[in-house]
Symmetry: C2
Subunit: 336 residues, 2 copies
Amino acid sequence: MKNIESGITTLYQVASRAGVSPATVSRFLNGTAKVSDDKRRTIERVIDELNYKPNRLAQSLKMGSTNTIGVLTQSLESGYFNRAMVGIEDAVKASGYALLIMSGHWHADEEAERVELLIGRRVDGVAILTGNMSDKQILDFSRRVPIVAFGREVQGERTQAFCLDNYGGACEAVEYLISQGHRRIAHIAGPPDHRDARERLAGYNDTLAKHGIPSDPRLVVTGDFSESSGLLALNSLLVANVRFSAIFAANDLTAYGARLALYRRNIRVPEDISLVGFDDLESSMYTTPPLTTVRQPLYEVGTGIGRRMLAMLGHQQPAADVPGLSLVVRESVRLV
Amino acid sequence: MKNIESGITTLYQVASRAGVSPATVSRFLNGTAKVSDDKRRTIERVIDELNYKPNRLAQSLKMGSTNTIGVLTQSLESGYFNRAMVGIEDAVKASGYALLIMSGHWHADEEAERVELLIGRRVDGVAILTGNMSDKQILDFSRRVPIVAFGREVQGERTQAFCLDNYGGACEAVEYLISQGHRRIAHIAGPPDHRDARERLAGYNDTLAKHGIPSDPRLVVTGDFSESSGLLALNSLLVANVRFSAIFAANDLTAYGARLALYRRNIRVPEDISLVGFDDLESSMYTTPPLTTVRQPLYEVGTGIGRRMLAMLGHQQPAADVPGLSLVVRESVRLV
DNA sequence: TTGAAAGCGCTACCAA
DNA sequence: TTGGTAGCGCTTTCAA
């Protein structure tokens, strides 16, 4: 009776008040079998009177599935990941799935702990957004729950993963800079323990080499994907007194920081120095000048994750192709 | 047996393999009662062997609480709300709560639907981040689940709410502009159906009046809190050929858009036009120039929500005071 | 200290 | 078309 007090009704209460068996109410609710018209009507009425809502917990326990997809992100505040999150949600919402989101903060142990929590809550599948867990860890988890990972290369019976071509994106960015006449191109790299960062750096190096431009180690300085690291990196570049006409930043945030460092010293973008980012965050269209950057189709990454997950969970799904990276040319690069 | 196949172990399996009763295993797990040392050791061993993890679903069904807090946000992509989200998570994590996040997109019907879903999943409490539901709707929900709302003024037996002083924040911003010698101040307002937006507008109007500055309706143009609306708003202001030396934007995003409009026309900030925002988003420190804006202590709002929620759920909690708004002066305003 | 068993709210099987 | 009932995995009386 505590349930009556707390205003929560059970299926049994509906049944008894409607003078039918719980089974019948259940059948009515789920359309599992024909229910005679008169009973159907009384049940409907009683449900309404009592404002009855099924207890999804009990349903889940019974059915063995929670209609919930766990998402391991790295930060709740990342505009980057959250764009993908929206994609995931849009993709799975119609099938009745909700998202249970946890963040691992790029720390393998924490990530594993979160996935463990997710599994403990019996999510039907886990979506992993990059991170630092080992492939082995992921494969281990996948014995307990189907996994779709983005920014990883694991594959397994119940594990799907896909990446974007960071290397190619970086090449495209640098190619563009070169096509605009730049030869002295600095790079603010991302953290070396970060796969995407390494690939972007490789793309930078290889493209320079391809064009016979000698690489100058003083031109690449390491950041950590944050605005402040971009600011710092550029300051150190400026102090070191190396000459360069363009900067390729490992991501947009870093580019923002670099932009500010330039602003502080009255160096104009793009008149004095050209700047290219990576990611194409929402706000990169509104920086001054609007940032030329490599667009990551994050929303589509999200829907791709969602669709793959639905497919693994046995839902009919159209193929989920994710478009590639593409350079979006705005106004932060000048032709020299 | 399907559980064995799928690699998921139940408490009964642990019990039988350890040669004890399920009750004993449960007691061991929860420390509910003394368990003899030898049994404890075998149980521990078996749990390890079987890699047993309790089914939280079953626990929740039995205990009547899911250790989950539902959060109704408006957009998964909003840096504004997500900062608060992190605060909520930090506040409740230690007590073992997870967050179930859904977004209502500023649409009362959708919001209600989401809260309904949250309740259906038997969250222990619901945190509401502003939105457009009526107070009555919220109060109705609160008969089924405790609610903490931010940016609302409802109060009820199981409903707590708190706001930030948007009016005061706007006054402070405009006061500052006036103190720097500005008298012709434009305002890009937020959507009129948005309480915060109305308050900020009122603060703008009243502060002007207080200083005997005649209000000029041509100086206020309405946006919708987005960058693009800021851009549009400023363009229309510029086209209308009204004179002004400063802009007070209803939020930072709008300010970004306005900033770009200015940039497009080679109008310098702050040399030619001063600009003040509202919110103090993460990135406002890195715009060029860094944006002077009214800081909203969103993280603290989040922890405030979390702490209030924990208190309602019966956890001992220190008082949860949320600091007020404060102007952060950076470089987008000039003394005229 | 331990076990047997009831029951959380639901679904689905088996009979009728 | 309907009802009775077992059982999902767990916790917690009640007895022993």
